[in-house]
Symmetry: C2
Subunit: 193 residues, 2 copies
């Protein structure tokens, strides 16, 4: 197996089992891509036609709120999948943009690979279900955190999910993710080292 | 086919096709239940072990925000599915409660039926994927509406989704769903009849 695909294969087999033949056919549809820090992979308003698997690096999903301020919605670290899932599912213009926050190594699953999986992998639909459930859980956590968590709870949760985030990402992105001011974030950090 | 199950069958076949044998085995696991207006079907803090299909009536999902105020998160009308999906998936205590806002006729899909579907229906995993995707889209719309829509846009969207909602539901539930005051809601209604 190509070393490039090793982690993707490992992660995939946490969801489903697949035969060598299935893996060979399926992974031949992957495309590797390197992107530089700050590159925008997907723009709000365009239709999303792929899912990114992050081999190395860190991506963020962001959007504009009703005051026209950029809000970071989600940070996606190594070994996770990221896409504008609503745009991908409905084939409508995306409400989110996706940007690399570090030089990143990606594997791109094009739409054709996704539908190939549903049609030809024995457990392709199960994979789709499990990923849809995970994506749901990200959004469900987000809704809950907006309504029910205090800034300090949101801060602790992020630290727990991506322990290295504070060393890797400019603080204003984190403040925007937590929906607090950068000054508030500094205070939280100094009180909760 | 039992008349009670007719609409459920119709809706199911919008997602997947299933043989008569599959339908008979699958639907035998359904349980019919009538509930009175204001009954609480599921309490925050308990683990959710079922999905409700609403034959007649209207349910709401709600939770307590960080100030201890009850917030209506979602209205579920006839012919839709409703559950505490996070609790069901992770088998953790639910963050939401589910209440009937009208006398309602439900079909209950117990957890055993859901896993039976994955294991024994030819397209069971596909059904799971499509429902997970739909549930994701509800939450995705919610996140977007919180951040990017104005109260009048949220109001119009709700009216479009459930045109009869304003006649069916006490106004304070709608105001809480829209995250505005009842006075603000009255103003929106008089300006947008």
């Amino acid at each position: 197996m190509l070393d490039t695909y090793h982690d993707f294969h490992q992660i995939l087999t946490r969801y489903i089992s697949l035969s060598d033949d299935e893996w060979n056919a399926y992974s031949s549809l992957l495309k590797a891509k390197s992107v530089r820090k700050k590159s925008i992979l997907h723009f709000e308003g365009s239709i999303c036609k792929e899912v990114y698997f992050i081999r190395k690096g860190l991506l963020r999903i962001y959007f504009m709120d009703k005051e026209g301020n950029e809000k970071t919605f989600h940070f996606a670290p190594e070994n996770t999948f990221v896409t504008d899932y609503e745009s991908l599912l409905k084939q409508i213009p995306a409400h989110y943009s996706i940007q690399a926050l570090e030089d990143s190594e990606l594997l791109i699953m094009p739409e054709t690979m996704i539908s190939y999986g549903y049609e030809h992998l024995r457990y392709g639909e199960q994979l789709g279900r499990l990923l849809a459930e995970e994506y749901f859980l990200i959004f469900s956590d987000k809704v809950r955190s907006i309504y029910t968590l205090t800034p300090i709870e949101r801060y602790s949760l992020l630290k727990q999910m991506i322990p290295t985030i504070f060393q890797r990402v400019a603080q204003h992105y984190i403040a925007s993710y937590l929906n607090i001011s950068p000054v508030h974030l500094s205070r939280l950090k100094s009180q909760n080292p």
